[in-house]
């Protein structure tokens, strides 16, 4: 079992959902400070889609193609749901979580 790819897939699906969420005006206002230029918002959805696509790619290192897609759907759904639960309770954590996930991947890579 490829742990790094698994951690990467989880991080990327969550990050992808987060970016798509940031692309929505309501959540952009909720999560970012007014200092950040609003034009950046337009880049969010494409970035999110890119992350999700990358997640599908990293999933394929953990499972065969068919299984990877099943896992990708599950991870994206659960990632989205986790984001949804974090938004009202811990919005900062919602933003920083992908960084944490990235760190976990780095640590796994070092081992």
């Amino acid at each position: 079992m490829n742990l790094i790819a698994l951690a990467l897939s989880l991080t990327l699906t969550y990050a992808g959902m987060l970016m798509i969420c940031l692309g929505m005006a309501r959540h952009w206002k909720q999560l970012t400070s007014p200092r950040i230029p609003a034009e950046l918002r337009r880049a969010c959805v494409p970035t999110g889609v890119l992350f999700l696509a990358l997640a599908a790619y990293t999933c394929s290192f953990v499972w065969d193609t068919g299984m990877a897609w099943v896992a990708w759907f599950g991870m994206s759904s659960l990632g989205g749901l986790m984001l949804l639960m974090l938004l009202p309770y811990a919005p900062r954590l919602a933003l920083w979580l992908p960084i944490g996930g990235g760190l976990v991947c780095v640590v796994l890579n070092l081992n």
């Binding site: 969420c21 299984m67 599950g74 759904s77 989205g80 949804l84």
Partner: protein, 518 residues
Amino acid sequence: MKQKTITQSMSWLHTWCGLLLGWVLFAIFLTGTIAVFDKEISWWMQPELAQNELDQAAASKTAQRWLEANHGNAASWNISLPTERYPALAVSTGEQRRGERTHLDPLSGEVLEPRDTAGGNFFFRFHFTLHMPRTLGIWLVGFAAMAMLVALISGIVIHKKIFKEFFTFRPAKGRRSWLDGHNASAVLLLPFHLMITYTGLVIFFLIYMPAALDALYGGDRNAMFRDGRSDAAQQQAPLGRERGERQTQSVPAELLPLEQFIAKAETHYGPGALAGLLIDNPGRINAKVTARPLLGSRIELTKGEGMSFSGVTGELLQQPSPSRPTLLTQRVMAGLHFAQFGGYPMRWLYFLCGLVSCAMIATGLVLYTVKQRKQAKGSRALLNVTERLNIATVAGLCLASIALLWANRLIPVELAGRELWETRVFFGAWLLSLAHAAARPVFVAWREQLYAAASLCIALPVFSLLDGLALDSTRVALEVACVVLGVALAWLAWKIPSRACTAPLVKSRPARLAGAEQ
């Protein structure tokens, strides 16, 4: 009468489909979710068995030695090899594959006597039969699954802001929060809900839709499955069907060491991919060894598949043959439902998705009562019954499930028919929960039952700590998972506003999921 709009009629359908079958659906989904870890639960429920660092080849040697010494004349042997999920060696003899199994110590070959237990298998069977006679249960579960599909699709139609409110959850807003929670858990996991419901129906396609089988094959199931196999298999098929006929031919001949067959089958299935061996006519010239793979090297559900060898010469008799597209389609769908593939990460994904499905059904059930409470018209009696049944289903089933695990540890090991007593405890706890829900005020009942389930979950590791029973990673993981689920249940119970307990029903605004002030 004024014509209803499509949304209105779909909303009506969604409400009644969801409400009337929701209770059954919650039971099906929760037990199905638990059954994702059925083997692990069985393993936990038999603490007499200990994990050995032994490979399958050595275990097969032990099994062969024991079987030759004790059941040399049996018509067939069945050996369940230790696997990652259930690392025990078990053997049985005779035609009855699911008959009495004897557990062996894989090292010494001593007979082990683990306690009789309902095991994780109880949840698995309950999931598709509701503990009723098999056919009746399967039909009822199929009916509920159809209702689930109807509720899902009507739900999509009436939920107009699917994308606008994709990530919207507003806690502490009473009915709004319940609706948000219900919508979000449904929309975000829609692929899972649709997949698991539909594939669940596909598994029993022969029971639900037998007309094609009757028309084309005269009801002969095996003929249809033979046709579903590739051509090579059809020619080979007769080879596999000789069991019993040739049993008269009993020229003694020595059986080759079984580990040879494991090695051979592993070159086809991959290392560590075998679940067991079936040996027909052991000790005779026509001995046949069938290596059965674990389900899960691919999505396709390969139940009953195997690789057969001559037990005396070791030559390959029958290769597993690929399914034709029709059969493959059905079996991939069944495999998607059974979730035997992809190892533990996949298992956890299925488990978590299943939990969200349960939450979706539960929030839907509660949402109905939250709506009805605020409406002046409408039947109070129906509302009252709904409230009570919601408690007994949602909280009560959680309570009953964890009670089953407790029963496994508390019921004396030597009690006759103890696995029956375990299920009695399960249903007893469930009945108690219904009685309790009927007797107590609604919010008090919710809190008390959720707290009870939570404390049972959190206290589960007590047995391991006190008794010093054999612990290994699987059992520890199960107990940790129970504690985590217990904390979640306790959080849920804690969020039920205690103020509302005394307030009259009509005025109260429960916001259990979100909490009113916190």
